[in-house]
Symmetry: D2
Subunit: 338 residues, 4 copies
């Protein structure tokens, strides 16, 4: 269902031309008038029509969609929360899931050390990039398959699952051999061919919100994945780009309860990428849990100042440990467990 407001100056001919077209597309219309303006209601499955298409007609002032343009991700059509089971770790249930690890996989020893450190402090899922999207072509680009092997081994030795980013559909099969969850990074949230490919996969997908993506676009990107058959989608808020540049991005925590209202999918928060400053990570992790997030993803490094990427935001294991104690308390305060 859609509503079209005609300009005050719209002619009878313009209105009729529009009505004919809508009928030709197979929709019914409903006309009303007020304050000298004609308003046309289009009745039928609105999600197949595009708001902007109607602005092309002469005499049209504004167009408004009544229905939400997504369906599979919507709580309207799927009222119960989705719980995703990753080797026994439930994401989206009462339990708060902790994903932690280095920004990128740099060498075996460091990853082993970090995996052990975060596992022993409560993390169930090991994060780490083997293929890195980097703004500059001169930055470290990742270890590739070698990195995936290290990640897998480190996770296995510590009874953890693996999450790692897939940036290109061509590597999907390769990465799928090593990971338990595919991560779609913020830069690829609107890479629709990639979304479709992971949609055909059987593995859970964690979709990070694009830096300039609205809530609706974020949910539509998840709809892309689900519409290919993959129902195991985890959403992840990691900050949006705004004029404020003291922090790397602006963490939009209000999206957490909003997503819980609009969708049944689990929502994770990444305070490391969002803030880009170490001392802000723990307070934002606690705030995320308090706002209702189903988990957090945090960068931890045993030697942040040696990290080849994003060291500035990585916590030391001990800081991570301290944060976990507080996470535990806040989780209980909102009736969750870690």
């Amino acid at each position: 269902m859609m509503i079209i407001v005609m300009k005050k100056t719209a002619t009878k001919e313009q209105i009729e031309a529009l009505l004919r077209r809508i009928k030709r597309w197979g929709f019914e219309t409903h006309l009303s008038t007020g304050d000298n303006k004609t308003v046309i209601g289009i009745i039928g499955k609105g999600e197949t029509l595009q708001e902007r298409a109607f602005l092309a007609f002469d005499g049209v002032e504004n167009v408004m969609q009544v229905n939400k343009p997504y369906k599979l991700v919507s709580r309207e059509f799927h009222p119960e929360k989705t719980i995703i089971d990753v080797k026994g770790t439930k994401i989206g249930g009462k339990n708060i899931v902790i994903m932690a690890g280095p920004c990128s996989v740099e060498n075996r020893d460091t990853v082993m050390e970090i995996a052990k450190a975060v596992s022993s402090r409560g993390a169930a899922i090991l994060r780490g990039g083997a293929f890195k999207p980097r703004t500059s072509p001169y930055s470290f680009q990742g270890l590739g398959e070698e990195g995936l092997k290290i990640l897998r081994q480190a996770a296995d030795e510590n009874n953890m699952s693996v999450i790692t980013e897939v940036m290109d559909a061509r590597y999907l099969e390769l990465i799928g051999k090593y990971t338990d969850i595919f991560q779609i990074g913020a830069r690829n949230m609107a890479n629709f061919t990639l979304l479709k490919e992971v949609g055909k996969s059987k593995l859970p997908v964690m979709l990070k919100r694009g830096m300039s993506s609205t809530l609706q676009e974020f949910l539509l990107a998840a709809e892309y994945i689900m519409s290919e058959g993959n129902e195991s989608v985890i959403l992840c808020e990691r900050g949006i780009r705004t004029f404020e540049q003291y922090t790397r991005n602006t963490l939009d925590l209000a999206i957490v309860p909003a997503i819980k209202e609009l969708s049944h999918l689990p929502i994770i928060v990444d305070p490391s990428h969002a803030t880009g400053r170490k001392y802000l990570v723990a307070p934002m992790a606690l705030a995320a849990i308090a706002s209702g997030a189903d988990g957090i993803m945090v960068e931890v490094h045993t030697s942040p100042s040696e990290a080849l990427s994003d060291g500035a935001q990585a916590l030391l294991p001990d800081d991570f440990g301290k944060m976990m104690s507080s996470v535990d308390i806040i989780a209980k305060a909102v009736d969750r467990t870690v």
Copy 2:
């Protein structure tokens, strides 16, 4: 102290002209060269110089301020947290302060009812607008002095303090007769004449962050007030304007721990104006406390659907009560009290 980077193409004459000028202004300079670029360090009290002024010189590529441009608000110069005492309610200490009340003062009975409701549920400070800034000239503009009287009476009968907005220096004296805290609204954060006037007052001032104000501009606005002698400044984050419009504004909670690092002033969060949607208020209030805020300001109304302004975001007393129970638990979790 400032650092000026000259263009690769800068001539000797351009560099010398700049050095002469800086010396004439009473500063010392320090020259260094690297990668074929000349870098000039200016030594002296940088806060009296303007970064942009140097871009006017031919040959200058970039200018960087080494020192922060504010001083009085800075934790560097005032390491202990400021605690402001408003009739016994301490703002900025261990205690979380709760400010609650209607968006605007509409009539005596409603305000009395609301004051009683929020006071009995833990609010120490009564909020309410008597003079309202409204985007449209056709919206309700507030009751004026009559509203102030109602607010004062409602607070007194419930042993609360009053906070209300001052929009114009001409009303400062009048409003000062009734209120305990002056509120400077987001739209007036950069109204420098108003900032100076409240800076001369003896009453505490709560300064709301402007919708498009950076962290640094926010602190500079507080510096304006303090530089006139008023040391009782409370900061308030209420959301910034971004491309995301599902929420009214984007609540920038990372600013809370950032302000605690950079400044000694207390920081309050207003989740009502930030989100503009009732169901998001409580989760964001809890997130604010978890992130380290010194208090929250919440709109409460006994009949939101009758409210003449901003009803959509006002909580019912019972919802406020439920929120307060959770606030209590979260506060304890971060070692605070309500």
Copy 3:
């Protein structure tokens, strides 16, 4: 006229409660249903209702305003363009008006020099700040009345008109003695008490768009002025705040043709404040004229590197002269004159 979309889960009671309230407010309603959603049309003068107010009702999903919330500034109600006559200079007609001068009035000699320079190169209106809004309390704050006198004299000696900023209603009378046009700065665009005061004045007002103001809010601010009786309002685009910080602000030139479609008021562009970099001023001035602007406001200084404020963006008289030659050519290309 307004349209309210109810949630799919809205109960009959919720819908009826809302209908009763709307009727009590004196409006008629019109109900329709599609895709299992109820849509309520409210018939009557929508501009007195607030969209957000309806979100307070249980069961409401979304609210859409059919009518524009402004009237006096709207081209719907006033199809002919407004032309404002300032001592013979027509703003909003075929002629492109040039406002030029220093950012702030610093001393008599410099202003005299600048006025002569810009006048002889085609500027009809002299700009200059006597009271300056400054982000830092430690920056130069302006000469006050002395500055106004200098400005008036410099204009008179060169047969120019004066435009200068009024930041505080208390100075309106004083400034009114010296200026021909009141300027409301971007920081005060939403200072509604000030808007009302200049609305009562007889002098033309140039209203600068707020840094984070939408097109609609900009027009509503102009409506504030007009609703007090002052019909001589000039709009001025000066850049909005975005994530891009290479330029001081992002000049939103598309607003120029948009304003010409939606409103009858003249629209001026200020490329100096928008870009903050000297070398970008002339290209953006030309682009502004090409996009349909009725004039430009440009900072010119005889010695930018000595300027006490915003020297970085001020043109030298010769650069201004060169720009004016191009402005002349572009103006002719779009069938305007300078």
Copy 4:
């Protein structure tokens, strides 16, 4: 070269630890002190270091890059403008290049009609999408190879070149068979694997600025392509995402002269996607030329209200023709030809 500002509270040990590390990385350092703050200059090829990496060190307050992080795209290292020759059409020279055509290729007849219409009115390059990135999975996704064939034929019959989008490295070879210029869309500006692939190609690449990409990130994305050996990169401004939503995006025209200062690459402007409203396209096209753009890309459709995507912003051939007459005049005004 980089500059690191230490916190006032930084200890001697922290400073020394940092100095040791920098030396270990092979750089020289230069220490200076002012206002009680230590400033470290790092001497060497700064572009291989990351600003954010230094924030990970204890005691570091701020880090500033002196050198630009890009090189191949920079005018510093390549002062003459790049001119790209596409089958005789020169992009980046004195001539203004016009790219026009439908948003997406829908059927042979329409494309033939449009190609003829735009060619006869001055367009040299035919645009059209065969593979479409769409926000909703339920929108029209493009004709694929069939669309490419139609586009090629339409271009050949009208003596035009073809530009079309490549969204996925897997289709590069296929699309390369039909197109003369690869277009990288805004959503893929930070798809670094795709950038590298087109960087290995011999065909020119037009890179659209990402919706939330800064000027520096835009240039770095072009650097990715050039660093793989492809020197024929055309930049395209198509609007950024801001809070203003009357227009689809905010066209950032100041980036045009900025890019001409910082880079030698040609810059094209797309006013159709930027504004999303038909009546704004021509004024913004003229403004683009006036600001110094090397060309424009415009959507034209013979029946916009039948278009399956983005009809709202497509011009009719006659409107395009009228626009071209004005483009011609403005081009001459800025000493260019069409």
